[in-house]
Structures are given as structure tokens and as C-alpha cells.
Subunit: 140 residues, 2 copies
Amino acid sequence: MYDTITVSRQLKAAGVHPTAQRIAIYHYLLSQAKHPTVEDIKAWVDQNFPKMSLATVYNTLRTFVEAKLVKELKLPHSSKTVYDTNVRNHHHFFDEDSGELIDLDPAVVTLDPALKRKYLITHIHVLLRGTQRRKYDDHA
Amino acid sequence: MYDTITVSRQLKAAGVHPTAQRIAIYHYLLSQAKHPTVEDIKAWVDQNFPKMSLATVYNTLRTFVEAKLVKELKLPHSSKTVYDTNVRNHHHFFDEDSGELIDLDPAVVTLDPALKRKYLITHIHVLLRGTQRRKYDDHA
DNA sequence: ATTTAAAATTAGACTGATTCTAAATATATG
DNA sequence: CATATATTTAGAATCAGTCTAATTTTAAAT
């Protein structure tokens, strides 16, 4: 689904020179990673790329963020920044059991219209935390 | 309004031994500070307390958080943790002009009821960012 | 193809916020 | 008062992330 040529083309389309390092990282982000930290990315890279500096991982992610290929998420559930290939507007749910981060549609949150009269809102950050319900859970 | 005796009593009521350092910091938090960082607190302390270690500021804040006297806020608008004496449930608006953080009533945010069927939500973090409208601003 | 310029990568030093350590001091209890 | 316990302290250590300056790669122009 994501061969090198395709990934390379997507990088070019975003104005990012497709170097071997960038192709590798973007390929990983698109195909395997779900909200990885730099640590996660570096660990994958160390297993799947001849040799890459940690600085390159950081540089590459910054480049991707600037090119709007990924979103950088600094969420209060962790001290580590995570990256998201879902660049559309959305929110997150942090599953306290699994540690997993789940994307939520922005429509699940509604703001009081009175707020818009008082504030000009440019960003809405929402993180919900909790656990996922199993079937037949009581949800009073 | 917040004399030493009162502050001291409040600390005791929360199960926190009222040492001079703790009284000073809690007094500052209650009376002058609005969403201060550790840096802000240390700066005030350096002006208003004979001598206090930075470690004590951190220790004291941890103690207060554990005693639920203050909330610790790690918001994505800054790399610095801020502290809030408003321990009720609430959200925040970050004013990008002034850098000010404004408390919002939790009622300004409504979650889709379908979410509650899928998730058991224990925490709701909301940070809005933008600017404050002046009177007569168009708010289409 | 070769030179030259620009961009990307690199290792390792550095920073800033926070935590840890272990000693010193203060407080509470028997 | 003696002694245990809690608190404070200075400074070292940690951790995520950034910066620096040198090297390597890539692109552009002869």
C-alpha cells in the first residue's frame, strides 16, 4: 500500500525533499505507527534503517510538521510529544487501561455559542481520559 | 483576607503540616497568583521569604497537589507546568495576545452522549486558544 | 562530468524543566 | 530531654528536546 515511490511522491507533493531518512520515517508513520513518540520512531529506525542520528529524527519530524504532513501532539497524559498522521481537526481519547490514544471526531464536542461572542477561538484542544466500555457495561 | 492563621488552618484541614515555607507559598497562590509557573512562584519567594530552595518549591507544590489544594496544569501552550487554586472541574482559554490563561465553566463544553456509551470518561481536558473580542467586534 | 552552492545529516554538546540524593535542620512524640 | 519522623536544602542527575559546527549528500551551473 505504501511503497517507496508513493511515499516519495507524497513528500514531494508537500514540498519536502524525499531523502532516504525521510522516506523511511514517513513510511513508518503512515503504515505502522499510531501516535508514536520520538522514542518509538527511533526504536523502529534502529531496527529498519542502516544508521540514523536521533537529531535527524527530530529534524525530520519538524520538517513534516512544517509541511503539515503530521501533527505534533503535546498532551497532558504524557511528558512525551506524539505524532499523528491524521492532520485533520480532531480530538483524542486516552485509554487508561491500554495506554492507547484514540482519535475522536471533532463533532463529539460542542461549545456554548456564547463563548464565540466573547472569544475568537483559533484552536480547540480536547483530551478525554478513561476506559473503553465492554458490551453490556452499565452506563448510567 | 488571607492571614497566616487562616492559611495555616486551611493547610491543616487538608492534612498538610503548615511549615513557614508552605504557608508562604499557599498564601501567594491564594492571594496574588493566577496560574503561576514554578518560575513565577520562585521569583515571588525570592522577594518575600528569607531563603527557600527551588527543591522546596517543587516539593511543596507536589504536596499541595496530592492534598488536592491545587491543580497542576500541563497545557500545550507552554512547556511549563502551571498551578491553579481552582480545584473544581473547569477548562481554560489561552489568550494569545496577552498570554493570560482564563478559567472557563465546564458547562461551556458539551460531549456527544454517544461517547458515554462507548467510553467511561474520567477526565475532560479542554484548552481553547484565541483572542478576546473587543466590544462591537464582528463575530460572524 | 566537474565545480560549486545549497540542503540534509550527524555526533555530541547544551539547555531547561523537573526529580533525585543524601545531608542538615526542624518538628513532634514518648 | 531523647529520639524518631518529617521537612528542607544544595547540588547532582535525568530526560526530552535543541543547537552547533563539521561532514556528507544532493542539486545546479558550467
